[in-house]
Symmetry: C2
Subunit: 343 residues, 2 copies
Amino acid sequence: MTMNAAGGRRRPPTIHDVAREAGVSRGTVSRVLNGGHYVSPAAQEAVNAAIRRTGYVVNRHARSLITGRSDSIGFLLTEPQERFFEDPNFNVLLRGCTQALAAHDIPLLLMLAGTEDERRRITRYITAGHVDGVLLVSSHSGDPVAERLREAGVPLVACGKPIGLASKVSYVAADDRDGARDMVRHLLSLGRRRVGTVTGPLDTPGGVERLAGYGEVLAEAGLEFDERLVVSGDYSRASGEAGAEHLLARAPDVDAVFVASDLMAQGVLTALHRAGRRVPEDVAVGGFDDSPAAVAARPELTTIRQPWDRISSEMVRVLLAQIGGEDPAAVILPTELVKREST
Amino acid sequence: MTMNAAGGRRRPPTIHDVAREAGVSRGTVSRVLNGGHYVSPAAQEAVNAAIRRTGYVVNRHARSLITGRSDSIGFLLTEPQERFFEDPNFNVLLRGCTQALAAHDIPLLLMLAGTEDERRRITRYITAGHVDGVLLVSSHSGDPVAERLREAGVPLVACGKPIGLASKVSYVAADDRDGARDMVRHLLSLGRRRVGTVTGPLDTPGGVERLAGYGEVLAEAGLEFDERLVVSGDYSRASGEAGAEHLLARAPDVDAVFVASDLMAQGVLTALHRAGRRVPEDVAVGGFDDSPAAVAARPELTTIRQPWDRISSEMVRVLLAQIGGEDPAAVILPTELVKREST
DNA sequence: CGATCAGTTGGGAACGTGCACACACAGCAA
DNA sequence: TTGCTGTGTGTGCACGTTCCCAACTGATCG
């Protein structure tokens, strides 16, 4: 009467069952599971056979309870959710991190915390020790979540240098300033002299650094810095469109635009098209990221390639090292100019 | 000497600490935590105050160990990963499910299983009981993961009717056939008579049903079914582009195309543009999904809106009900024609 | 020959929680 | 009084694992 009905979910085998099946003790099975040190070849073989026969899988909850580790990593996004889904960069980054962690057999927990309410819930969830570390893919200055996690001592790696935080936080970033310099030099090399820019949000490192690179190259070329050529955006397609309209209104003679993200560049293209400007004949457009948006755009975007695959694998490497007890570290990776149709 | 260094992670408070702080027993604290039945107002207040003071958060590993529940849900995608990141539909669905589950304070575990190797790992992970249920967002026929999970008795809700599976599996789907009918009728109402189609993969319910709706309406309008007007795709942008080229080669007089996804429709637009056909003047193009890709396209796509927000909330509702012991259920939701520039 | 040591094994304790149970107490009916 | 019901409270046990310590082997060393 108390037996499980056929087809129902029967009690999964425990380490105890395996030990009995193999004729050894729990301790020996546990040792086999965790590296196999101090176990005789005979016992090792018997245990492995028993595991195969019983179909045993370790109960991670029980293990986590005693080790204090969860063997999982969180992928935390504190942006409004639209940003995540609109911006292909996040997708690429997520895929890269998933793959890098798969090599360690560690599942990735995707956490979206767009509202303050969700941020509180997520913070509680994380500080409860349900993930061993966090990959933070948004880094506005003054982000309360990052600060709270840092205070709680949660291992943390940011994508892009966090601005407002104390120095003791790891991050991995592309060389934004250098990439911006490459692009603006490229635009100048095409003979353009009225080079405008649509910046990223200026409370993010990417926004600040790319603008700085733009300014540097113009200065080095002996061109005056004309603030009518500078408008700011928030990385969204819509802000690129609005930015380009501003630009055209304030500086109608603009002949090139360096846009701080591909997605915004799509918006810029839309606005230019509507204004009757041809790309690249009348206005050359350079993007940033080399995201899928770059090849989806018409014309296809010349852009600065961020090495997303390396960024994600480095983030994972640094985070795992930090969980293992190492000190925080910062990694800067080089970018690359990719020429397409828009310049 | 054994004290924690300042700034380090100190031992988190347990239910024991809270009980001592509040002057009650563990059991009372546990009762407050789980609903507060059979607890006096005085004790309730004392416990809540103690929780606030100690900063206690429940240890989910310990709870899961005894309850056998993980209080988390898996979002499982067995497609090759590129599909997930290219296709905006998945993003919208993911967001909807995340939000719906947030209302229940349940975190969502995103699992990508593109390769057979990963599928094995993920299956093991799931059947080990580390999620309470699975939202399955891919449903090719013969998907081995779905079958394995069903056999293991894991609560499961698919997005779209699974073709090859036994009937006892829940699913939520839009009314694909009816949506396709609406679109084709719309194209005919514009006076088009050579209406082609680029189908979805024909081992998925969406692919099959949308094609069926297309055929039905043509037949009802007294138009002959011309197989030169039918090409199949796989929902990717690239397959839409290739499909349109096929279509133009085999039926140059085509004056409208019903494309089974917005993403493929983007590819169709690209191919038509390259072939010098104007949209919608020469060829009207209708998509399916009303995903972000529809408004990103140039011209913006007329399409069939899938109610993604309702689909995701229904998937969550049905899954939670099933975890609670209810029987599997199927839900079909209506679609809506959205007119834009491409027709 | 006793002592030491590296390798190997078994079993007790603990991790933090939920649950079943025992129990206390008040109110009320027999 | 005795019994009974419903509410509120404390305690032992179990969940499945890892960690730690003790014990047992041979082999080597002083």
